[in-house]
């Protein structure tokens, strides 16, 4: 099922873009970039709802009624949950709206990674799997094997640049940096010290760059290209909504800012 609904469509889409681009050197990297843009465009409404949902949840933390029920039902979790759901309903907030795009990202990331490895076919066994993955209407015999070169990278292998005898993982650093930037810029500000949303976002701001940097360090650099472009587009999308919190990039920038109202 995973093969049918994720791997096959993603691999064929990548191959189609690569073929359309002219399948020369660097084209597979460009295909991954175009693929990322396409995914971002498709998930744009979802990302927008994530931004809106996160903002609504953030504002809720500063709502007087919300704070009152937290205190009032602190020892009765069942009642607290019922009251929270009532407020969600009244204010038209979907508490899961900010999670959905993240959930959707995971199969795409995992599927894309498997598709890149499949498309590049570094072993005869991989090549055989690729032969079975390709849709009948695609004439890929002219483009296989794919040229995995992109700039200084081999997209099928982890990236590093040799400087003074040291293998420096530049792409992993860029992945971690852009992930950190995106998280910081989208991090909501809060004056409430007990704001759990802000705490969670702060925690994600630490885990996500480390996790994605680790991926970039250990796995095919094609996935790092996806991460970088996806992060940059995420920042652009957030900035376009006018909600990017540039003050978060400064030391202590998110501690004192007031909550931004719509």
């Amino acid at each position: 099922m995973w093969e049918l609904i994720i791997i096959q469509p993603l691999t064929n889409l990548l191959l189609w873009i690569y073929d359309t681009l002219g399948h020369g050197p660097h084209m597979f990297g460009l295909a991954i970039i175009l693929f990322t843009v396409l995914i971002k465009l498709i998930t744009w409404p979802l990302n927008a709802s994530q931004v809106k949902g996160a903002q609504a949840m953030q504002e809720l933390q500063n709502d007087k009624e919300w704070q009152e029920i937290q205190k009032k039902y602190a020892k009765d979790r069942e009642k607290l949950a019922q009251e929270q759901m009532r407020i969600y309903r009244e204010k038209g907030i979907n508490p899961f709206a900010s999670c959905l795009p993240t959930l959707i990202q995971f199969p795409i990331i995992i599927g894309l990674y498997q598709s890149i490895i499949r498309a590049l076919s570094v072993t005869p066994l991989d090549m055989l799997k690729l032969a079975r993955t390709v849709y009948p209407f695609q004439n890929v015999e002219n483009i296989i094997p794919l040229n995995s070169t992109f700039l200084w990278m081999d997209l099928g292998r982890p990236e590093s640049v040799q400087i003074l005898g040291f293998a420096l993982p530049t792409l992993a650093v860029i992945v971690a940096l852009t992930t950190w930037l995106q998280t910081r810029l989208t991090m909501p500000t809060s004056s409430n010290p007990n704001d759990q949303t802000a705490q969670m976002t702060k925690m994600m701001g630490i885990y996500m760059p480390l996790m994605l940097g680790w991926f970039a360090l250990n796995f095919a650099s094609g996935i790092s290209v996806y991460f970088i472009i996806s992060n940059i587009l995420g920042i652009v999308q957030y900035a376009a909504t006018g909600r990017a919190n540039w003050s978060n990039l400064l030391p202590g920038g998110n501690k004192t800012s007031p909550v931004k109202k719509k």
């Binding site: 993240t102 990674y113 072993t123 090549m127 032969a131 759990q196 949303t197 680790w214 250990n218 796995f219």
Partner: protein, 357 residues
């Protein structure tokens, strides 16, 4: 909120585990390589190379003593006339080694380690020189002691197949869609011949030129005097080396079709046989029988008219070309309970070999 936090955290961990499981390091898995002489079979499968007594199916030796995560062996080992067993590693360590077929001990003072890529292809030994194609796109030439005798020759594309020779020229197929022709006496390359698709296995050498199958799904006949023509086709990619036998060419494709081509008139003797799925292994012709191994795991004996004589299912998938040793046909399945099985011409299983753990 805590539930949400935990969910996200576990999703990250799950994502990491799934991605880790699906692969990472290249060239870590492939189907086995196989070669045999009259007494022993040699199979390369992952971290080890095994020598097996063909009479009994018992293990004679294995190499190396302990698994090394950087060294992996999947190419067909090559036996040389001066008593060497040659094979390169497909692991992250690109060592090319020589073993003593009798003992499994290393023969060279040190492995050849000058290649940048993995060794998927077997080498060719011709006029006391080892011609070893690598996935880095270079053909390396070594003496019989593993010393490089000339600068590597850049062919282009990943080289997965063993070179072949007609006694004058050396022919090397490449995934770059070309057949490369080397004159070993001068070290000069002829203009590469466009095959129209990648060619993962070797050309077949006939009395009047060579025959090449490729992902273009055609068979090309190429001669040293410049002839280059499509003489037959298939309905899917051709993977395995065509088998040349008495003016007949046997070949198969990834849709599972088997073909018998009469080279005297370039007409198919028969092409209606389609057992059960993709065929990557070359067909083996012994006496009046043709042996076919399929990915679905069938091992089939045909007569020369294309009629099935017997059919066995040893288990696992079969990608590796079967080989003949004495009167036995050896089959090396992938992901089976055993690594090697021996059958006689009547289809009776003589033995199976499972590596000791």
């Amino acid at each position: 909120m805590k539930t949400k936090k935990l969910t996200l955290f576990f999703l990250l961990i799950l994502g990491a585990l799934i991605i880790s499981a699906c692969s990472g390091q290249p060239l870590t898995n492939n189907f086995p390589g196989l070669v045999a002489d009259a007494d022993r079979a040699y199979i390369s499968t992952g971290s080890f190379i095994y020598a097996i007594d063909v009479q009994t199916g018992n293990q004679v030796w294995s190499y190396p003593e302990k698994a090394d995560g950087e060294l992996l062996y999947y190419a067909n080992p090559v036996l040389t006339e001066d008593g060497q067993l040659l094979i390169g590693s497909t692991g992250t360590n690109h060592a090319f080694i020589s073993l003593d077929p009798a003992t499994g001990q290393e023969k060279w003072a040190e492995p050849f380690s000058g290649a940048k890529g993995a060794w998927v292809a077997s080498p060719l030994v011709f006029n006391n020189t080892i011609y070893a194609p690598n996935t880095d796109g270079y053909l390396y030439t070594l003496d019989m002691n593993g010393k490089q005798v000339a600068e590597p020759i850049e062919l282009g594309g990943a080289l997965w197949s063993a070179p072949v020779t007609d006694g004058t020229y050396i022919y090397i197929n490449s995934l770059d869609h070309h057949l490369h022709i080397l004159n070993p006496s001068t070290g000069k390359l002829a203009d590469p011949i466009d095959l129209g698709g990648a060619a993962p296995d070797s050309p077949a050498v006939g009395t009047e030129g060579i025959y090449v199958g490729s992902f273009e799904s055609n068979i090309k006949h190429i001669t040293s005097n410049g002839k280059n023509e499509v003489i037959a086709s298939a309905s899917d990619w051709i993977w395995g080396t065509p088998t040349y036998d008495n003016e007949t060419l046997y070949y198969a494709d990834l849709s599972g079709n088997i073909f018998s081509l009469d080279l005297s008139n370039n007409r198919q003797n028969w092409n209606t046989l389609k057992p059960d799925g993709p065929i990557t292994a070359s067909l083996l012709v012994v006496d009046d029988q043709i042996y076919v191994a399929t990915e679905a795991g069938s091992f089939i004996a045909l007569d020369r008219d294309g009629k099935i004589v017997w059919e066995k299912t040893p288990g696992g998938k079969i990608y590796t070309t079967p080989v003949l040793s004495n009167d036995l046909i050896l089959v090396a399945p992938y992901q089976a309970e055993f690594a090697l099985a021996a059958y006689d011409a009547a289809g009776k299983q003589a033995w199976t070999f499972t590596p000791s753990k």
